[in-house]
């Protein structure tokens, strides 16, 4: 009996001890290692091609966020003469301060973190993709090289935005993984970064994807191609004042587009509408079949998207579970709020009715009717139509030329693609480079050379301008009016303003011009045209300083990065000290 009880006691103890000890902790260190669920850790990642593709897609989708695109818009255009405050913009102090040129270090648009987020993702791919190539036999060296070209281009594009906005920025090419990496990186100069970017792109451009599989119709314009890299190079060389190279790369693209066009003709895939070359350039015809209606090119490029003129655009799929173009939705407006936070400057809106023609050269420029949409019930007030509707049509059948517009995207559901580069942009880059290449010497040879170059530039501008001219009579520009280098320079820039209006380019054009002139007088002249609420004088004096056309570093950034030196136009960015009595 006793033994029986002893046994049961023993077994009870044994059972408790055993279950507790052996089943629960097989090993101390193992016990304290928890495998995360729903998330993947670095050690388990970067094994196969799909891992690479996932982060590459993450690079693109992070560029599609409102934070990034809104900055492309604010930085690239809002300080320019194109844009003024729209509906209730006064309530958005950050935006209101941009229009007042009252930008300080605490303005939220001075935050660059989201661009560096893209950069860090790209750097991460660049670090780990070679490892995948070693592990996954189906991920070949050529695929690896294409990936490297693709993410390098994305990273370089982000840096290109940053230097055009802030001038000098930290240039980081390694991914951040550990907390013991150096984080307070000092800024590198504009020129050094630009050189690094062009060198980087030159080295990868040949391995970039030329054509994506036909089965993926959105990849060709929605992802980086060799064309996209060439467009970036043309743009960068223009900023670098290396005009030969700019022209070289622009020509590559124009030729590529021509080949594309000819192939399509051969396979007769092109509708009759688009089957014409305009002065030898494969531009989409804006004219609709009857001749009385225009808007075809506009609807193709900005409405449908992925047009034949497109080189690189961020694709927003018509899918509610994916990102919508939130920046356009709030800035340019939607079916509920139109205009949005911003609208075209008044002098652009009244350019034709007042017959001022400061921007558009005639009332026959269809871009006036396409880019802007009158706000109902308010005379001479326009909202931005580009990107906010799926189509626009210019109607010549009435006494006055009129625009008619497709329905505005509903709030939060704007799915129009955001275009980074398209053909006319590159063509005008080439035109700008040609103008700058024109010698100013008095010698006959020089004059002859200048004449050739300027005529080439003129041909480009004329083709683009002609495409959007709905006049029944002559459509060509008058060469005599633009035969000098300075007038041609002005024409190219003006054509860029008309053609690329509201695409986040105008302010950068003015900054590039200021860099070239080494003064801001042209920029100030343009900006003062929009004459915002009597503060013009203060704005002009503020912008008279070269430093002031860039952005200040954000105060939060200065606080944590002691190696950043604030742009002198914006002071130290910190409050004067608060005394403690």
């Amino acid at each position: 009996m006793m033994t029986k009880i002893n046994n049961s006691v023993k077994w009870l103890g044994a059972a408790l001890l055993f279950t507790l000890h052996s089943s629960l902790f097989t090993s101390c260190s193992d016990f304290l290692q928890i495998e995360p669920r729903e998330i993947i850790v670095l050690d388990k990642y970067w094994d196969e091609e799909a891992d690479v593709e996932g982060v590459v897609a993450g690079c693109y989708s992070s560029m599609q966020t409102e934070a990034v695109i809104s900055r492309m818009m604010v930085w690239g255009e809002f300080r320019s003469d194109n844009i003024v405050g729209g509906k209730n913009f006064e309530n958005n102090i950050q935006i209101a301060n941009v229009f007042k040129e009252n930008i300080n270090a605490s303005n939220t648009y001075a935050k660059w973190g989201d661009f560096y987020n893209v950069i860090n993702r790209c750097n991460t791919v660049l670090r780990y993709a070679p490892q995948v190539a070693e592990r996954d036999p189906s991920y070949t060296q050529s695929k690896l090289a294409a990936t490297i070209a693709e993410v390098s281009a994305l990273r370089d594009l982000m840096y290109f935005y940053l230097i055009r906005t802030f001038r000098d920025v930290p240039y980081i090419t390694e991914p951040y993984l550990d907390d013991n990496q150096k984080m307070d990186v000092e800024a590198s100069s504009f020129d050094d970064i630009l050189t690094a970017l062009t060198e980087d792109l030159e080295s990868v451009q040949s391995t970039a994807v030329k054509r994506y599989p036909v089965a993926q119709p959105y990849y060709q314009k929605g992802r980086i191609t060799q064309d996209a890299i060439h467009a970036m190079l043309a743009d960068m060389y223009l900023w670098k004042k290396d005009y030969q190279n700019c022209v070289r790369y622009a020509d590559m693209i124009i030729n590529e587009k021509l080949i594309e066009y000819e192939n399509k003709i051969k396979n007769s895939q092109l509708s009759t509408l688009n089957s014409q070359l305009i002065d030898g350039f494969p531009l989409i015809n804006d004219n609709m079949s009857t001749g009385n209606y225009y808007g075809n090119a506009f609807s193709e490029i900005f409405g449908t998207g992925n047009s034949s003129e497109s080189i690189f655009e961020l694709v927003f799929m018509n899918d509610d579970d994916m990102l919508a173009n939130a920046a356009v939705n709030s800035f340019y407006g939607n079916a509920t709020t139109f205009p949005g936070l911003v609208r075209p400057a008044d002098f652009i809106g009244t350019d034709i009715s007042d017959e001022a023609f400061t921007v558009f050269m005639s009332k026959n420029d269809t871009r006036f009717y396409e880019n802007m949409q009158p706000v109902q019930g308010q005379s001479n007030t326009y909202g931005i139509n580009k990107y906010t509707t799926s189509s626009a049509m210019v109607d010549l059948t009435k006494a006055e030329i009129q625009g008619s517009y497709g329905s505005t995207y509903t709030e939060g559901k704007n799915h129009s693609d955001w275009i980074i580069y398209r053909l006319t942009d590159v063509m005008l880059m080439k035109a700008e480079a040609l103008v700058e290449m024109a010698p100013e010497g008095e010698s006959e040879a020089e004059r002859l050379q200048a004449d050739t170059l300027l005529r080439q530039a003129f041909a480009i501008v004329n083709a683009i301008n002609k495409r959007s001219n709905c006049s029944k009579e002559t459509k060509d520009l008058d060469w005599d009016m633009f035969s000098s280098k300075s007038s041609m320079r002005a024409l190219v820039l003006a054509e860029r303003q008309r053609e690329l209006m509201f695409e986040g380019k105008r302010w950068y054009d003015l900054v590039r011009r200021s860099q070239r002139d080494d003064n801001t007088s042209f920029l100030v002249g343009c900006v003062s045209r929009k004459g915002t609420s009597g503060a013009t004088g203060a704005v002009s004096s503020k912008l008279s300083r070269m430093d002031a056309i860039y952005w200040p570093y954000h105060i939060d950034e200065l606080k944590v990065n002691k190696n950043l030196k604030q742009n002198p136009a914006f002071g130290s960015g910190e409050n004067s000290s608060i005394v403690k009595n």
Binding site: V9, K10, L12, G13, A14, L16, L17, H21, S22, T26, S27, C28, D30, F31, L32, P36, R37, E38, I39, I40, Y45, G54, V55, A57, G58, Y60, S61, Q64, N104, W112, G113, Y116, N117, I119, N123, V169, P170, P175, Y176, L177, D178, D179, N180, M183, G222, R223, V315, M317, L323, A535, I555, K559, V560, N561, L564, N575, I578, V579, K580, N581
Partner: protein, 1132 residues
């Protein structure tokens, strides 16, 4: 894998040794008795009065386990079969001394003696503290601790434990989070001591040695803050036997990283032997909201607003707002011509009933205690309701003298119906000329009378009401129509096995093993619905919104404890040692569904046919492992040494830093027991009355740690991102923290214990010095050029806390006949200082002044305490316009200034009027800058005057000065108890002294820059030239004026004394009660809680929580309700 097998072997061997020990000890006992075989025994049992019936006769074996048992019959006879003659016979009877005899004969004649008549009794048991560690006699405790026996609160109308602790523990500052139902409290032991934990530096709660293992981090309900300490709500105060607060690191080190903020150990009541005792208690409590600010009536309000709109533009057009015009032609006229007291409309008398029933009892083999409580409460704000059901079962089963099995089971269910919106704060802002119900319009026969429909401002109302009045829901409608239901289930089953492996008493070596398994199950369900009647949005903008969320957490904890108490032949030595191994693992998952556009009419579930707008789920898992070693040595009961070491293993750090080690040493010297001291003060241990009964000094040193509250920090995580075209996106989520270290706190503590007059007065004093290193801070900003805005955690610096505490308690201090009285006092003071801090962290903690109204500045400086308040100095209101002053002659101006009249002129440092080249007085400006980047505001008559500290003719950031500290100089409480016969009067006060509070709530009610209702104080506002007042003029618009910059106008002294409770109780004479009602005990009481607060503070309640490293700000949270309670307790 090999590692595993080795470990397996190791533990198996350990188990074998244990089993061997077990068996051999039993074997020894078996062999000690050897007798002739006896099969049956019989006999009689009697006492002085004669034969006894019902005496328990048991055969017990060597381990004390009962083998056979019987009871005596009416004549006191018994007879039973014996299984083993080596066993013993035991006779026991209630009230008599138990006798144990060897089985050496067949017939027994036993005479029981009464327990009370036994002359020679040596009481060897000492009062011991038994929390999570060793049971150390109270006189030998060498660390800083304070215990409250809940007997003191018996029958007191307390709903929660924290209410009982308030003001009783020196150094423990308790602040109610808000007066909402189910809202908890924040506790701070010895001051705010870390940055990361500032918002959650509540002490660790240990219930019966178990900690709350459920991780609630990832479940975010709207009122998450309120939930923080809700776990305390889940222990019914009636179930608590005692509460011990462990304060210094030496005491908390056995809890390692969990105990860094101090530990509150709660012991619940257990069963006791005897006839079952049934207790029922009932409490009825009425609660109401204390009176807040007096708000304007509808008439005063409209007059103010008209002025406020007129002033900035001096234009009647600006104030032409139909809602303020009392124009009968306006279609909504009847809705805006009222005098509604919104605050009154949303408050009420709340009623709480607490029913509580407990049964305790037990016999030889088992004791039990079963309790159940049901509470029903309606809030002092309308439509708040809480039901709580809690039950606790404690069972101890004595298998034998060696083995005891205990089980605890506790369940708490709460069902809280909250308000969807913060009604009280809306009520203070809502325009009072608006009606609650829609009223019949002009021309209707019932014009001006209420319809059944709640009124909500139309979306077509002027845009000046956008974002404020238009978005303020009708609070009465929200209370009645919206739904916010929160249900929680908290279940904690526990099984414990105690085994005495060696000796059973102090004359033998004792080795006790305790194995314990504890589970923690916490489920929470939240359902919310917001009907379309509450908003005037169109259907497409999303109305009829619902949310359903649930979270389920399970944690499993096991503790294996071995305690060794060796026997020393030399009684001068005593030693105890304990080793413990503990494992915790748990997981939680939750999901949440949002939907909108649900069909109207009763459907309130998100899956009821609307559009699902959001679905989310989460999962988390945590594990930890602890080793604890603790030992206590005493020599002659005079010199004590304690040492403990705890090793914490956690999943929060990377493999290299997984383990933290936390040692502690403490000493105690009972000076009182030194013969020389006794000679010196003339007392000795034998005398009955000692004027000094305790004097001891207790130095200690210890280190505790702190860990982050997130997992996977040391891993680079990849998570999914939005798709691009058709490619699934992935992204790197974080920068992994390879360098993250444990936060450690090292504390030196010196304590004194003093007992006077036979311990009728006991006094404890503590002084401490603690240094926190490698402070953990969450979300530390880093350069965003890294691609990430923050590091999840970082060790950012170190800080120091120095403080002292004093605690005085009495035990029948004054005793005159049937009257006796007691008092208690507690004081505490803590000073903190930042010693080092990462420069960039310091910079990002310090805010920049943006020159806006209501902007609270935060400034953290090295070698300064947290909680400093900065702002301008307020000097009243400019009586006259600047122009009036300019138009005066020089003499008039001088006289004007000499008479103390004010206008926006500038005075130099020497007090002279500053004039420009044209002898025109310089005008006072606000934030002037030449390039127009400043505000460049010109002060006018009726504007606030701020002191121009540096006399530069403008008010800017250079005029901001230090206005005081949010940290109290002294916190604590005191109370007294008066007893007269069966009457008892009990009271407790708590107080804070010397802290400043920034009263933003008052600022908002006196700002006059929006359409929000304002307090009656604004009736004294500046209206026309020459008015002398301290309230500036009414100016609509956030940037039209700078009258409500943070200044000393709104910084108030937060000192207060609160009467926490006052209670009068009466217990009826037991014999009388027994005779008349047949019950054993009946007591009744009446008490008042939070009866009054003595304070200069102008806000509703000076008990405002600390504001982290910034200022302590009163944002106008729901104040603690006042209440009156009636209660009755009956024992059957």
């Amino acid at each position: 894998m090999e590692m595993n097998t080795i470990k397996h072997k190791f533990f198996f061997r350990r188990f074998l040794i244990l089993a061997f020990l077990l068996q051999s000890s039993i074997f020894n006992l078996q062999s000690s008795i050897c007798q002739a075989q006896i099969k049956n025994v019989h006999g009689t049992v009697s006492d002085d009065m004669g034969e006894l019936m019902g005496v328990s006769v048991c055969e017990i074996d060597g381990t004390g386990r009962i083998i056979e048992a019987t009871t005596t019959d009416m004549n006191g006879n018994f007879s039973m079969h014996i299984r083993n003659a080596k066993d013993k016979l035991r006779f026991s009877y209630v009230g008599c001394k138990t006798q144990t005899l060897p089985i050496d004969r067949e017939a027994y004649k036993i005479k029981m003696t009464s327990q009370t008549t036994i002359k020679e009794v040596t009481i060897t048991s000492k009062k011991k503290l038994n929390g999570g560690g060793l049971a150390i006699p109270e006189r030998e405790i060498s660390y800083a601790t304070q215990t409250i026996d809940m007997k003191e609160f018996e029958g007191l109308g307390l709903t929660t434990v924290d209410e009982a602790l308030q003001g009783r523990i020196a150094g423990l500052d308790i602040v109610a989070n808000s007066g909402n139902l189910g809202a908890g409290t924040s506790m701070r032991l010895r001051g705010a001591s870390s940055i990361s934990t500032l918002t959650n530096s509540n002490p660790l709660i240990v219930v019966n040695g178990n900690t709350w293992n459920v991780d609630m981090n990832n479940f975010d309900v709207t009122n998450a803050n309120d939930e923080q300490f809700a776990q305390l709500l889940n222990v019914n105060p009636e179930d608590i036997a005692s509460i011990t607060v462990l304060k210094d690191a030496a005491a908390t080190a056995i809890y390692g990283s969990q105990g860094a903020n101090g530990v509150i150990e709660i012991t619940t009541k257990r069963g006791s032997r005897g006839t079952p005792k049934l207790t029922y208690s009932l409490r009825l409590t009425g609660t109401y909201q204390p009176k807040g600010y007096e708000m304007l009536s509808g008439d005063d309000y409209t007059m103010l607003l008209k002025e406020s709109y007129f002033n900035p533009q001096q234009d009647d057009g600006a104030s032409d707002i139909r809602e303020l015009n009392y124009d009968p032609t306006f279609s909504e006229y009847e809705q805006y011509n009222n005098n509604t007291d919104w605050v009154d409309a949303v408050t009420q008398w709340g009623l709480r009933q607490n029913h509580y029933l407990s049964v305790t009892g037990g016999g030889e083999k088992a004791t039990f205690r079963i309790s159940g409580g049901y509470d029903h409460e309606t809030g002092s704000v309308i439509e708040q309701k809480q039901d709580r059901f809690s039950t606790r079962v404690a069972l101890d089963y004595y298998v034998s003298e060696r083995i005891k099995i205990s089980t605890n089971f506790a369940l708490t269910y709460t069902d809280t119906e909250r308000n969807y919106d913060d009604l009280l704060s809306i009520a203070y802002k809502k325009m009072p000329n608006m009606s609650i119900y829609e009223q019949y319009p002009v021309g209707h026969p019932l014009q001006g009378q209420n319809t059944e429909k709640y009124y909500t401002m139309l979306q077509s109302a002027p845009s000046v009401f956008d974002g404020e009045q238009k978005s303020y829901v009708n609070p009465v409608a929200s209370a009645k129509l919206a739904k916010f239901d929160d249900r929680t289930y908290d279940i904690t089953p526990e099984l414990e096995l105690n085994y005495r492996l060696l000796g059973m008493d102090e004359d033998h070596h004792q080795l006790n093993w305790q194995g314990r398994v504890y589970m923690n199950i916490f489920n929470e369900y939240v359902d919310k619905f917001y009907p379309k009647e509450l908003v005037t949005l169109s259907w497409n903008n999303g109305v009829n919104n619902a949310n359903a969320a649930s979270s389920k957490s399970v944690a499993f904890n096991t503790k294996q404890t071995l305690t060794f108490i060796p026997y020393f032949a030399n009684k001068d030595h005593s030693l105890m040692a304990m080793g413990r191994f503990e494992l915790t693992s748990g997981s939680s998952n939750g999901q949440s569904t949002d939907a909108t556009k649900l069909p109207s009419g009763g459907i309130i579930s998100p899956i009821g046919g609307g559009r699902v707008t959001g679905m989310s789920s989460n999962f988390s898992e945590w594990r930890s492992m602890y080793y604890t070693f603790s030992t206590h040595y005493a020599y002659k009961g005079r010199y004590m040494v304690d040492f403990s070491l705890r090793a914490d293993g956690t999943t929060k750090f990377g493999p290299e830093r997984q383990w933290g080690y936390f040692p502690a040493v403490s000493l105690r010297w009972n000076i009182i027991d030194e013969p020389w001291f006794q000679k010196l003060v003339g007392v000795n241990n034998d005398s009955e009355e000692q004027w000094i009964s305790m004097l001891a000094i207790r130095p200690s040193w210890g280190r505790v740690g702190n860990q982050p509250n997130r997992d996977y920090l040391y891993e680079s995580i990849y998570s999914s991102d939005t798709k691009y075209i058709n490619m699934g996106g992935m992204k790197p989520e974080n920068i992994r923290l390879t360098d993250l270290r444990w936060e450690t706190t090292t504390t030196w503590d010196v304590g004194f214990d003093l007992g006077l007059l036979n311990d009728r007065i006991t006094l404890q004093a503590e002084w401490y010095y603690s240094t926190r290193r490698d402070m953990l801070m969450e979300n530390v900003s880093i350069p965003s050029s890294t691609g990430f805005p923050t590091l999840t955690y970082s060790n950012v610096g170190s800080m120091r806390n120095i403080g002292w505490e004093l605690n005085l308690n009495t035990n029948k201090l004054i005793k005159i006949g049937k009257f006796f009285a007691d008092v208690n006092f507690a004081f505490g003071n803590n000073k903190n200082e930042i010693l080092t801090m990462d420069e960039t962290v310091l910079k990002s903690l310090n805010s920049d002044f943006d020159y806006n109204n209501r902007e609270v500045l935060q400034r953290v400086q090295l070698h300064n305490p947290f909680g400093a308040i900065y702002g301008f100095r307020y000097k009243g209101v400019y009586e006259y316009q600047y122009e009036t002053f300019v138009d005066m002659s020089n003499e008039e101006r001088l006289q004007f200034v000499a008479e103390g009249h004010t206008a926006p002129y500038v005075l130099s440092e020497t007090g002279e009027i500053v004039v420009d080249d044209e002898n025109k007085p310089v005008r006072m400006m606000y934030n002037y800058s030449h390039d127009a980047t400043g505000k460049n505001y010109e002060f006018q008559g009726g504007d606030a005057i701020y002191e121009d500290i540096n006399h530069d003719g403008q008010i800017n950031s250079l005029d901001i000065v230090y206005l005081g500290s949010s940290l109290p100089k002294l916190t604590g409480g005191f109370g007294f108890t008066l007893n007269y016969g069966r009457w008892k009067l009990n009271s407790q006060f708590n107080y804070r002294v010397g802290n400043k509070i920034l009263n933003i709530a008052r600022l908002d009610t006196e700002a006059m820059s929006s359409n929000n209702n304002q307090s009656k104080a604004v009736n004294w506002r500046w209206r026309k030239e020459g008015n002398v007042t301290t309230i500036p003029r009414a100016m609509y618009g956030a940037s039209t004026n700078y009258n409500t910059l943070v200044s000393d106008r709104f910084v108030e002294d937060g000192s207060f004394v609160r009467l926490n409770y006052l209670q009068l109780s009466y217990s009826f004479d037991q014999k009388t009660i027994k005779r008349i009602l047949g019950v054993n005990r009946l007591s009744m009481y009446a008490s008042a809680n939070n009866l009054f607060v003595i304070t200069k503070y102008k806000g509703v309640d000076p008990e405002v929580g600390y504001g982290g490293y910034g200022a302590s700000v009163d944002g106008g949270q729901t104040p603690r309700a006042k209440s009156y309670t009636l209660g009755v307790t009956v024992d059957f």
